[in-house]
């Protein structure tokens, strides 16, 4: 029987970490992810898990030590947020190119400056090209479920890539909600043992990791990473299905909420989907055909699948919770518009930026956006190609 609990997102992922019981966790505190290493350290202190915790002196070192531990043959992970992720930037690429299936629990927070401790996606979006798999969550349940699936995806022999399990800072990480936890043995059996093929501490076959690769070799390593990332798509679907069979909660690349017959849709990542779903229910009662595509997997990017899911919509608002300063939109907007160009040219899409540095995204805001999309469609009311929503009046 599943266990019913009330946990925050940080508690939920820490509980999943305890159940998976990885070998090594180096970490350095940063708001709002600090609680994760705290909970893990407490579990260890009380003999509830036997992971080795390394209290490193910075995030650069936490990812460096995680890489060292994983390379040595240990299932490893770390946790961070915002500037902590930025400090380990260089190392994210190293982890991916070394094909180390380590896990990173990211609690999304705005990057400085100005310094801000609240949620947006600028940290992980900035890391979108590092070679990490990126999986996002709307709430504590999804964070928990995603972490339980993480190593199965990352360690799959056709993948062998590091994985980032993301949740929204404070909104998800600190808000306590109901959750259904799996039994320890179920998680243990689902995740299984880590038995790497090549690792530093393999007495039968020493290995060297982290070479200097000149132009004759470098490019093939990138191609191999890209192939692995493409392979991850099927693996993510397979694991999501298998997880569903065990838990009753199946996962794919994204969730479609009342999208099938929607004229007007939003696309977004993370916790704001909650408010948006409320708005959709209200507007549907008024007869408006509105829906949502909540993206779960951003790397690998399921471009064709997203375009197919949106192809019958008239107008779409792509919601970015980070800025990339290209002047015309955010990263999600750029990638989804590219997908629509390839697979669904007739869908009109606008790009909106919201929620930076923890700015609230409300049900009313979501309703307003749907109404504006409808007004543009029906009356030709002007809609800016790129719009900030929720700005101070």
């Amino acid at each position: 029987m599943a266990i019913r609990e009330r946990l925050s997102g940080n508690e939920a992922i820490s509980y999943a970490i305890k159940q998976v019981n990885p070998d090594v966790m180096p970490a350095f505190p940063i708001t709002p992810s600090t609680e994760i290493p705290q909970y893990v350290a407490n579990y260890i202190a009380n003999g509830e898990m036997d992971t080795e915790f390394i209290p490193v002196e910075s995030e650069h070192s936490s990812m460096s030590a995680t890489i060292g531990a994983q390379a040595a043959g240990a299932r490893s992970l770390t946790a961070t947020s915002s500037c902590g992720l930025a400090l380990m930037w260089e190392e994210l690429y190293v982890a991916a190119s070394n094909r180390l299936p380590l896990a990173l629990c990211l609690v999304n927070r705005a990057l400085s400056g100005p310094i801000n401790i609240n949620c947006d996606h600028s940290d992980s979006m900035g890391a979108r090209d590092t070679g990490f798999i990126q999986i996002y969550a709307e709430n504590n349940q999804e964070v928990y479920d995603n972490f339980v699936q993480a190593y199965r995806i990352a360690e799959h022999k056709d993948v062998m890539l590091p994985i980032m399990i993301c949740q929204d800072g404070f909104i998800t990480s600190h808000a306590v909600e109901n959750i259904e936890l799996l039994e320890d043995d179920k998680v243990k059996n689902f995740v299984g043992e880590y038995n790497p093929e090549n690792y530093l501490l393999n007495a039968d076959q020493p290995m060297a990791m982290g070479p200097y690769a000149v132009s004759n070799y470098y490019m093939e390593t990138k191609m191999a990473q890209n192939t692995a990332m493409n392979n991850a798509k099927q693996v993510i679907l397979d694991i999501g299905k298998e997880f569903g069979e065990m838990s009753g909660r199946e996962y794919g690349f994204f969730e479609e909420y009342r999208l099938e017959d929607a004229d007007y849709a939003m696309v977004m990542i993370g916790s704001a989907a909650g408010a948006t779903k409320d708005a959709i229910d209200k507007l549907r009662e008024q007869g408006m055909k509105v829906g949502l595509l909540k993206l779960r997997v951003f790397r690998p990017f399921p471009d064709e699948e997203i375009a197919n899911a949106l192809k019958n919509c008239k107008v779409v608002a792509i919601m970015d919770r980070s800025e990339c300063f290209r002047g015309k939109g955010g990263p999600l907007g750029a990638e989804i518009k590219a997908a629509l160009y390839d697979y669904a040219k007739d869908v009109k899409a606008f790009n909106l930026v919201y929620g930076l540095g923890g700015r609230d995204f409300t049900v009313e805001e979501a309703e307003r956006i749907y109404n504006d999309l409808a007004a543009y469609d029906k009356d030709g009311t002007a809609f800016e190609e790129y719009r900030y929503v929720g700005l101070r009046g």
Binding site: P26, E52, H60, S61, S64, G210, P211, Y217
Partner: protein, 311 residues
């Protein structure tokens, strides 16, 4: 067991020939000497900060290391090895590994004194059972002889060039061995390439087999950066010691030990003169610069003698 140079030199090399380091490089001599101190049968994971050593000994698809090896980046050799060592502990505890492994990381002075200083400090403070070996050639040689905080005062480097308004580097070198000793680690040793290598061998063995974190600072001259004839490396190292520019000492569990006191301390000119990077000091009118250099060597030597005399 007494030290037998011939027996040591007949051990199988753990850094295989065929790598791309310069002839007469102090770095490779250091690596071979340190790895000879590993007991036969013991396995090792070798770490490496980015630098000459790394790009020349592990150029894909060839590695010069007989042991497992990991290079991660420039500034994180300490943190990376702390992860490897921790993985060993837990995997051993879980019964997944039987063999005995030792963990030895090499970095140049750039990766150790400067960009990797924080990572090194963290790894030392956490007292991982590992050895960090700095092969100190006193500048960023891999990128073309730029100054580091290990560069001695008045050295001519490409970022402290000697010119009409410049006498080279303006600052004294950082005393890293003392700084690591202040971390209260079980073992710190300062050595260089001397005679039958007994000093370095003994220190490497102590560093490797003392439980906990250990640090070795090894003066490893770079013929290109220091501008002396390649074959003179052993003479240069000897002069470094005989002038007390590079004293041999250890700090064992907090106890400072002076390993060698020259019968007749040589003037610092003897160390500086053979090196092209100090050529300008011997121009007429620059005598005071050498005097200053000598005064700093004397001050540090006296301080070291004082520290060692307390025990």
């Amino acid at each position: 067991m007494s030290y037998n140079f011939k027996a040591e030199m007949n051990k199988p090399e753990r850094l295989a020939p065929g790598h791309r380091m310069c002839a007469g490089c102090g770095g490779t001599i250091t690596v071979r000497a340190v790895l000879r101190a590993l007991h036969e049968g013991d396995k090792a994971v070798i770490g490496n900060a980015t630098g000459c050593l790394e790009v020349s000994t592990f150029m894909y698809p060839y590695t010069a290391y007989e042991d497992s090896y990991i290079h991660n980046a420039f500034e994180n050799a300490g943190a990376t090895m702390s992860g490897v060592e921790t993985a060993y502990n837990i995997l051993k505890k879980k019964g997944k590994i039987d063999d005995t492994y030792k963990f030895i990381t090499f970095g140049g002075d750039g990766g150790t004194y400067d960009i990797g200083f924080q990572s090194l400090s963290g790894a030392m403070e956490r007292n991982h059972d590992m050895v960090y070996v700095c092969y100190d050639n006193g500048a960023y040689m891999n990128t073309g002889i730029q100054r580091s905080s290990a560069t001695p005062m008045y050295a001519d480097t490409t970022t402290t060039p000697v010119g009409t308004e410049s006498n080279g580097k303006m600052q004294n070198r950082k005393d890293l061995a003392a700084i690591i000793a202040a971390h209260d680690v079980p073992y710190v040793g300062q050595s260089t390439l001397l005679g039958n290598f007994k000093d370095l061998h003994t220190k490497a063995e102590k560093a490797i087999y003392t439980p906990g974190a250990a640090f070795l600072n090894v003066m490893a001259p770079c013929p290109r950066g220091w501008r002396y004839p390649t074959e003179d490396i052993m003479e240069i190292c000897k002069l470094g010691v005989e002038t007390c520019y590079w004293p041999l000492f250890e700090v064992e569990h907090g106890k400072w030990i002076l390993n060698y006191e020259p019968k007749k301390k040589l003037p610092i000119e003897d160390f500086l003169r053979p090196q092209g990077r100090f050529k300008h000091l011997f121009k007429k009118g620059n005598e005071h610069l050498i005097e200053q250099f000598q005064a700093e060597v004397d001050r540090r030597w006296e301080e070291l003698q004082f520290r060692c005399s307390k025990y």
